[in-house]
């Protein structure tokens, strides 16, 4: 048992929020129940009451016990669903708008490193595409290489593949090369099944450091053009 404190009290108020949501859902179900069940059986119960009190007693106890178990199941079930939803919705929201980091190394002009901290799945690919487009459009000086740091992209579905393919084509049309680093796990497997690694100008680096080192030593990035890489 927890001791009483202001902090604990506020937590209790938050947990009571679940009950309030439950209450609203429950009120709807209870209203339907009144009209569908009680209204219809009212006359029949009265007849049983008049006919035989023993039968009425058995029916009454059965009804109240049955409703007790049913409501316990219903309220527990509602609460279970509400609490799961309260846990799932923020998680989905975080996955839909994952944390991101944008780095523009000073020693490699024209390079932008974009770290996207979430799997590329159907509910966040549009956001991913939107963010990339935004970064490309607002980059000053203009970009020559867009490098995706994929260390936190743990997985990808077919919509993710489509978005990457579209991204490659869009960037290519703007003479910007697309590269990736830290590719691993399920994302690496999914990427291997696509044509992207075999596309002209698509770059793969083991790490961000390796990419920056290579781009700094081998050639000035300002000369890099899509298709040359």
């Amino acid at each position: 048992m927890r001791s009483f404190s202001v902090r604990n009290f506020s937590k209790r108020i938050v947990s009571l929020g679940s009950f309030l949501v439950e209450l609203v859902l429950y009120a709807g179900i209870a209203s339907a129940y009144f009209f569908l069940v009680l209204h219809l059986v009212g006359g029949w119960i009265r007849e049983v009451f008049d006919y035989n009190k023993t039968v009425y007693a058995i029916v009454a106890l059965t009804l109240v016990t049955g409703q007790g178990f049913l409501l316990e199941l219903l309220t527990s079930g509602l609460l279970w669903v509400i609490r799961r939803m309260q846990a799932i919705i923020p998680a989905l929201r975080r996955l839909a708008r994952p944390h991101e980091t944008v780095i523009r190394p000073a020693n490699v002009p024209g390079l932008l490193i974009y770290r996207f901290a979430g799997p590329l799945l159907f509910f966040n690919t549009a956001y991913f595409a939107h963010r990339v487009q935004e970064l490309v459009d607002t980059a000053v000086p203009p970009l020559l290489l867009f490098l995706i740091n994929a260390e936190a992209i743990v997985d990808m579905d077919t919509t993710g593949v489509e978005v990457l393919e579209e991204l490659y084509n869009t960037l290519k049309s703007k003479n910007i090369a697309l590269g990736m680093c830290e590719v691993k796990g399920n994302f690496e497997e999914a990427l291997k099944d696509t044509l992207l690694p075999r596309r002209a100008g698509f770059l793969l680096y083991p790490s961000v450091a390796a990419a920056v080192r290579e781009l700094t030593i081998e050639q000035p990035v300002k000369d890099i053009k899509a298709g040359d890489l």
Binding site: G43, Y56, V59, A60, V64, Q67, F69, E72, L74, T75
Partner: protein, 301 residues
């Protein structure tokens, strides 16, 4: 809504509200909530014999909901509850017979209402005294006590030392030894109140379990609710046979009580036993006030 059996007009929202309120109190204090539900039904014009039976029947459903929650929290002593059921059923039958006798005499409303008032005020006064003494003892000691300590703890210790075979142990309640007859006697008294005054008589049994048997408050709350399912179930049967139950009213009340009971049961996790007992003090007085108002003015509100 017009209820055909008791032939009374009562708002469905009013019944759900009453059910919800007594559900919270029932889940939190381990009582049937008849000290509020009884006067609340009486206040809207339901005949007292129907108040008693109907209240008892709604308590069955509500206690199922609350006891299941308390069982999940580990607050139910099944062994103690099973023993108490026997004493309670005998008591409920005694109480129900008394009601039948008074019905034949035609003065059931006045007698039950006055009996109700006396019990409610006595319980409230006793709980207030206990809380005051417990708090004073803690203040004198100058430290927060560990566990569920009561100023009347010596009473339960003395009762537990009373040797009358068979002696039994209740590990879930932390009681090493206690006479079976003491448990049955406590249950019988509670059952008699239940049958006579309606409700589960948790307002008598819960304090009795804490102060007489020495059961920790949280366990007393959960065990009482579990026991109430069976005893109030039996009470419902006997009252329904005698035509004192409007099952439709209790089904409507139960829809509100089911949510309230879960909230109340969950709240017990966040409070000490002494806090629960202290919060209990004004509740019977609220019921007494409502009942007194109806009796004196003759008005139903």
């Amino acid at each position: 809504m017009y209820f055909l059996i008791s032939e009374t007009h009562i708002s469905v929202l009013y019944l759900m509200g009453v059910g919800f309120s007594v559900g919270i109190l029932g889940g939190f204090f381990g009582v049937g909530g008849s000290f509020l539900a009884g006067p609340a039904l009486f206040a809207v014009g339901m005949p007292m014999n129907f108040v008693v039976g109907t209240d008892l029947s709604h308590i069955v459903g509500k206690s199922i909901v609350a006891a299941k929650k308390h069982r999940a929290l580990g607050h139910v002593d099944i062994k103690l509850a099973s023993i108490m059921v026997a004493g309670t059923i005998a008591g409920v039958e005694t109480g129900a017979q008394c009601i039948q006798y008074l019905k034949r005499r035609g003065n059931v409303d006045t007698v039950v209402a006055i009996g109700f008032l006396a019990v409610l005020v006595s319980i409230s006064m006793f709980m207030g005294l206990e809380s005051w003494r417990t708090m004073k003892a803690h203040k004198d000691l100058g430290e927060q006590p560990k566990g569920d300590v009561s100023a009347f703890g010596h009473v339960s210790k003395r009762i537990q030392r009373f040797h009358l075979a068979p002696m039994i142990s209740l590990p879930d309640s932390g009681i090493e030894q206690i006479s079976l007859w003491v448990i049955l006697a406590v249950a019988y008294v509670g059952g008699t109140f239940s049958g006579f005054l309606g409700g589960g008589a948790g307002y008598v049994r819960m304090p009795s379990m804490v102060f007489l048997l020495g059961v920790p408050t949280h366990v007393a709350v959960g065990t009482d609710l579990f026991e109430i399912i069976i005893s109030a179930g039996y009470g419902t049967l006997t009252h329904a046979v005698k035509g004192n139950v409007d099952i439709l009213v209790s089904l409507v009340m139960l829809t509100g009580a089911a949510v309230g009971a879960q909230i109340g049961a969950t709240l017990t996790e966040h409070f000490h036993g002494r806090t629960i007992r202290l919060a209990f003090v004004p509740l019977p007085l609220i019921g007494a006030g409502l009942l007194l108002y109806s009796l004196v003015t003759g008005q139903h509100f």
